[in-house]
Amino acid sequence: MPYIDPHIHMVSRTTDDYQRMAQAGCIAVTEPAFWAGFDRSSPQGFFDYFRQLTDYEPRRAAGFGIDHYCWLCINPKEAEDPGFAREVIKLIPQFLAAPNVLGIGEIGLNKNSRNELAVLEEQIALAAEYDQLILVHTPHLEDKKKGTRLTLDAIKRNGRLDPGRVLIDHVEEHTVKMVLDEGYWAGMTLYPDSKCTPQRSADIIEQFGSERLWVNSAGDWGCSDPLAVPKTMVEMRRRGHDEAAIARITLDNPRKFLSQSPRFRA
């Protein structure tokens, strides 16, 4: 069955992963800009990263019949220095016309600091100015609930964004309701040690329904699984969910949200 992994960091994965994902049915990925595991020493480092996301990586994916799309931003882990962050933000508009760019992401908060929040608000404003979709990272572990609340409030304060054009990612049982209740899309990330498992994501679907909800692997350089989405499909199937319900979460919903960008064609 075809599926889309709408959040995965393929720059951190091997070409073998593309091959295995294609064999499992992956037809498209979207890759948000994120933290490399170390802080870049200059804005130029981001310029090269954005070139990788908009030029090299789509060609590598195409070798396996997978469409590659991306999101651009400065991530919250490198947003504590607003001066540095603003230099990176200035680089983004020149890349927004690239054929695989879907919007601004993954912006958000990491430690819920004032500077992170200020940079988040500036990138929300950038998305509004250029009429871009937004993909939001919510913080890890004990910081998630507070960070999710602060993020939703920041988007509301901006006042220029339709919640239906914003995906709030990494939701769990204590944040999914507030995200869906306020009209946003919600992403469940499947990690072995944090965020959701395939089983818990199926639990959330059963309790909250499948409207405005998707799953992703967020595969990166840490402990993660680029086949987590098809494993969730298997989990739903063994519980007795029908194929249409499985396709809604793993193919139809990503298509519906992402197709709000005219560049998305998968």
Partner: protein, 120 residues
Amino acid sequence: MNATSNETSPTCPLSRGRTMNLYFMEHRAKLLDIAAFLDRLDRSQPSFPEPLDDVRLAAIHDALAILGDGQPERVRRILELLSDPTLEPAPKAGEKGALGVWPQRQPASASSTSSSSTSR
């Protein structure tokens, strides 16, 4: 102890019997992993600061109480038990990583029911 709440409306397509058969062994193993972790802490060498006073251990004990209370939404309640409940932005980001438990959390069960050396 009630294992499940009778008040929860059925949303999972599986019957309770089928759910038990499909998932029991996997979660039996996870339960034993928690027990083995607590035993390992008991057997570990003393250190300073003493991890037996660690906010993370207290949170595990409080989370275990939620598992046994027979009330629904255990996952949400445990996640909230581990979370920062404040809403004021932090003055600075500090370390990039997260601990897994809000460091200022006060244990809900100051008089622990456990008599092992891993209790607070």
